[in-house]
């Protein structure tokens, strides 16, 4: 720690107003098995150090992988050189606060290596399946990450957090009549017990199995049931518009929409950085501000976006504790633990009344959607629904429209909330979904 406070003193002695140092360290393990044996094994320790320098109303950042004194001093000197070319900005640092917290994830590290391998072998076996329609499992993997982050600055801020998470994924294909159908499943969590309960092999196998013999559907507007996985994809797309920086710069669908109804009143969206146990939980954000629960959309009404210190200052608002950061970047804005709240409707009840409808299980090309306009046209696949019954798969079609229309045309919200990473959602039943097929 002395090397860090020395570096801060060094920067101040060079005429900087403030210095902030952000350090990330991680210990990673990843294992991939094939045919019941280890195929790839990876174990690593890494660290990164970002030095943020503030001089006048300007700031810059230089990063590196070493925290020894000469390297830190070099980073500061480089940052001072860069700062000359920067434009002035609203810069605020958090200060006078000390904190040290650990997010308990001891079970991950205590669980025996053999048990982790056994879990993978089990998933792979289930993924292969039985009988005539055996699947080819591409990979079954487990990973865990033990991390620490530290932020220290010349305003008296010193915060540290340690924690860990783990996750697993499996991908496979069933070949039927020369045509492959693929299935994929994954789950990331801070809770080892939860991971060990996931039947990822079965889930991936079923995804592929259901698609055997899939065809195309007719072009028209459908009533469609979207699975939680697909809603999570669409929520990620929408999240661009919650970002306070995008709102400030006019790149958000919710610019000037504060207090207005923007989507269906059946929808509540929350970013809850303080939800203990969630993968996205953290005690403090990238500027050392304590995280809180932020309600973004309540009954369809936009309550406000997510902000860090400097964007909040520009807009006359308060930070929401959403500074996002890696050691290689200046603070930006990001969500922690984002979700659409669970609903009341049973999935069977949603399917019951569906005739000539579709169940959308996967989208393709999500990175191609335009988050600024909300327009999208994406590849889609899933199952046909006739007279309330699932009746075979479809693929090779696109769904298109605008993300706001999708979230406005909601008929029902499912009671099947699901979270595989730091974003979660229930199923949604949506009308007027434009499908291009045959």
């Amino acid at each position: 720690m002395k090397n860090l406070s020395d570096a801060i003193d060094y920067g101040l002695s060079k005429g900087c107003n403030d210095i902030e140092i952000y350090i990330e360290k991680s210990d990673d393990l990843s294992i991939e098995i094939r045919a019941g044996k280890i195929d790839k094994y990876q174990e690593s320790k890494s660290q990164g150090i970002g030095v943020r320098v503030i001089k006048g109303n300007k700031q810059s950042l230089v990063y590196g992988t070493s925290d020894n004194t000469p390297d830190l001093q070099k980073s500061i000197n480089d940052a001072i050189e860069i700062i000359e070319f920067m434009d002035e900005d609203d810069i605020i640092l958090n200060g006078n606060e000390e904190f040290q917290g650990n997010i308990d994830s001891s079970k991950i590290l205590e669980t025996k290596f053999e048990d982790k391998i056994e879990y993978l072998i089990d998933q792979e076996k289930n993924g292969i399946g039985e009988g005539d329609n055996k699947a080819l499992v591409e990979s079954t993997s487990y990973e865990e990450n033990k991390y620490s982050k530290l932020i220290i600055n010349s305003k008296g801020l010193l915060k540290q957090e340690t924690g860990a998470y783990c996750g697993s994924s499996i991908s496979l294909a069933i070949n039927k009549g020369g045509i492959n159908e693929t299935g994929y499943a994954y789950y990331y969590t801070r809770d080892m017990d939860k991971l060990l309960k996931q039947r990822l092999g079965i889930e991936a196998y079923e995804k592929a199995y259901e698609m055997i013999g899939a065809g195309i559907v007719n072009s028209k507007k459908y009533v469609a049931l979207f699975t939680p996985d697909v809603i999570v994809d669409l929520l990620r797309l929408l999240s661009y518009s919650f970002n306070g920086e995008n709102i400030y710069k006019g790149k958000s669908l919710f610019k000037d929409k504060l207090g207005e109804k923007v989507v269906s009143d059946k929808i509540n969206i929350v970013d809850n950085g303080i939800e203990k146990g969630a993968l996205g939980f953290s005690y403090f954000d990238g500027e050392g501000i304590n995280t809180v629960e932020n309600r973004i959309i309540d009954k369809g009404v936009f309550l406000g976006g997510l902000y860090n210190l400097s964007i909040a200052k520009k807009t006359g608002l308060k930070t929401t504790g959403n500074a996002s950061r890696s050691y290689a970047s200046l603070p930006s804005v990001g969500y922690h633990n984002l979700y659409i709240e669970n609903g009341q409707t049973k999935i069977d009840d949603m399917l019951k009344d569906l005739n000539d409808g579709i169940l959308i299980k996967e989208l393709m090309g999500l990175h191609m959607a335009n988050p600024i306009t909300g327009d999208f046209s994406l590849g889609a696949s899933g199952l046909k629904v006739n007279n309330g019954k699932l009746s075979g798969g479809f693929r090779g079609v696109t769904i298109s429209g605008n993300i706001l229309d999708i979230f406005s045309n909601i008929l029902a919200v499912g009671n099947d909330f699901q979270r595989r990473t730091s974003v979660g959602a229930p199923s949604l039943l949506i009308q007027d979904v434009i499908v291009s097929g045959s």
């Binding site: 094939r34 044996k37 280890i38 195929d39 790839k40 094994y41 990876q42 174990e43 690593s44 320790k45 890494s46 660290q47 990164g48 810059s60 950042l61 230089v62 990063y63 590196g64 992988t65 070493s66 940052a79 860069i82 070319f85 920067m86 434009d87 900005d89 080819l136 591409e138 294909a173 492959n180 159908e181 693929t182 072009s219 710069k249 006019g250 790149k251 290689a328 970047s329 200046l330 393709m364 090309g365 990175h367 191609m368 335009n370 600024i372 327009d375 046209s377 994406l378 590849g379 696949s381 090779g396 079609v397 696109t398 769904i399 298109s400 605008n402 434009i434 291009s436 097929g437 045959s438």
Partner: protein, 460 residues
């Protein structure tokens, strides 16, 4: 970065327990990034990552670790730990290492022109001023410039010991345009295997003005149609389609796992006679070029599909061994922290004999794709999607009004078999390709070609 003797001793430890293969990848990557947004130079970030990735393979099983601590002690410990993961019975011949330097010929220019920070900042400021003069419907502009200086040493148990320096530079222009209640965004990018000297040779003013024209036109464009129709993809459009529709499926690491539609099809007809697909990591200045791949294999021109017949796969060392094919120089990695996998470099469809205008004249009612955006493929099924960033309707053999918001969806092998006209023109695009969580710089190209029927997913 590290003395040869230390690398040799580390290698000795890696192979001491009878593995079949081991390698050391030592990398220093310095980056500089400038972002001008909202009329301000908002971010300048500089940094350097230095580290080593060590790997041993026992009968196809890979053990990998990386470290930023390059001390003798740390390297030896990691090497011993990795070696001790198994006890093999391979006896490797004591390799003799002679350093080979990578060629500089593949860079855009052999002269070095790093450019000062001041020059780069001034370029962005100049382009910003230019864009806002007669601003039209422009409401937001983001200009970014980035360069990377990557230096690698690669040593492996086959006696490979190479050194390669890969400077890359890239500039991106993104504009948001608004008129009445319409918002559209437009984008362009240039980049190369080359330093700032490359950017200096580009007409950046034209690029910025081009993005403005694109944005204004998109505001006027109507919504794209939906349905199945003939599609012409222009040579200007770049090669997203070849990359997605067949490139990924020809990567040997995917093939060996049985997850490619092109698996076990060498010698088979997999595309129309008019189609020849090439991956070539040696093209001067192209974004995906380098002298060696990240396993120290020399890059080269690989003909993957010739006149419709599948000739070979791209491969890294391990998948080449498993499939019993020659390594093609496509073993690439994002950095020292990642295991090498099979990746494309610069991938393209060779030009054909038709005239572009004749191709357009042959379509009564269809879509003309002038520029493509991103895409995605499921290699096991061959299903792909890609984005049309600039498209026009074709009516009675003529290019008519512009449409926006179109996505093309199809199946790789099906589409490649259907292509029935290939022009004698050619164009390239560049991008960062993502696979297994690793990004790699690539370029893709193609001539103008006709697909007689394809599903167009528009918003109308």
């Amino acid at each position: 970065m590290i003395e040869k003797i230390i690398l040799e001793k580390t290698m000795e430890k890696l192979i001491s327990k009878g593995c079949e293969f081991a390698d050391i990848y030592l990398e220093s990557k310095s980056t500089l990034g400038l972002v001008l947004d909202n009329n301000k130079i908002e971010r300048i970030t500089r940094g350097c990552r230095l580290g080593a990735g060590l790997r041993v393979i026992y009968d196809g099983r890979t053990y990998f670790a990386f470290t930023e601590d390059l001390s003798e002690k740390a390297l030896f410990k990691i090497a011993s730990d990795l070696a001790n993961k198994e006890n093999g019975n391979n006896i490797l011949k004591e390799p003799v290492f002679n350093l080979i330097d990578g060629l500089t010929d593949y860079r855009y220019s052999s002269s070095i022109e790093k450019g000062s920070l001041k020059e780069k900042a001034n370029l962005l400021l100049h382009l910003n001023e230019l864009a806002w003069k007669d601003k039209g419907s422009l409401t937001q502009l983001t200009l970014s410039y980035g360069d990377v200086d990557q230096e690698v040493y690669i040593m492996n148990s086959n006696g490979v010991y190479v050194h390669d320096i890969r400077p890359r530079s890239k500039a991106i222009i993104q504009g948001v345009f608004q008129k009445d209640n319409q918002v559209q965004s437009a984008y362009d990018v240039v980049g190369a295997l080359g330093d700032y000297g490359f950017i200096k040779t580009r007409n950046m003013d034209e690029l910025v003005l081009g993005v403005k024209i694109k944005g204004e036109n998109l505001l006027k464009a109507k919504e794209a149609p939906s349905g199945t129709m003939p599609v012409i993809i222009s040579g200007e459009a770049g090669g997203t389609m070849v990359h997605e529709a067949c490139g990924h499926g020809l990567e040997a690491d995917i093939v060996k796992k049985g997850m490619s539609v092109y698996g076990n099809k060498i010698g088979n007809k997999v595309a129309s006679d008019l189609i020849t697909v090439v991956d070539d990591g040696t093209i001067k200045g192209r974004y995906g070029s380098s002298s060696f791949d990240d396993e120290g294999t020399q890059t080269k021109e690989n003909i993957l599909i010739e006149n419709g017949i599948l000739k070979r796969y791209m491969s890294d060392l391990e998948s080449a061994k498993e499939l019993k094919i020659a390594p093609s120089g496509n073993g690439r990695r994002e950095g020292y922290h990642a295991i090498p996998i099979t990746r494309m470099t610069n991938t393209y469809i060779r030009r054909g004999a038709s005239n572009k205008d004749d191709i357009v004249a042959s379509v009564n009612n269809g879509l003309f794709v002038k520029h493509m955006g991103g895409g995605q493929v499921n290699t096991a099924t061959g299903d792909f999607v890609f984005e049309v960033s600039e498209g026009y309707l074709i009516k009675n053999g003529k290019i008519e009004e512009q449409v926006r918001g179109a996505t093309l969806i199809g199946n790789g092998p099906e589409v490649l078999n259907k292509i029935d006209m290939v022009a004698n023109d050619f164009g390239y695009s560049l991008g960062t390709c993502g696979k297994d969580g690793q990004g790699a710089p690539v370029a893709d190209g193609q001539p103008t070609l006709r697909i007689p029927s394809l599903v167009v997913g528009g918003t109308n």
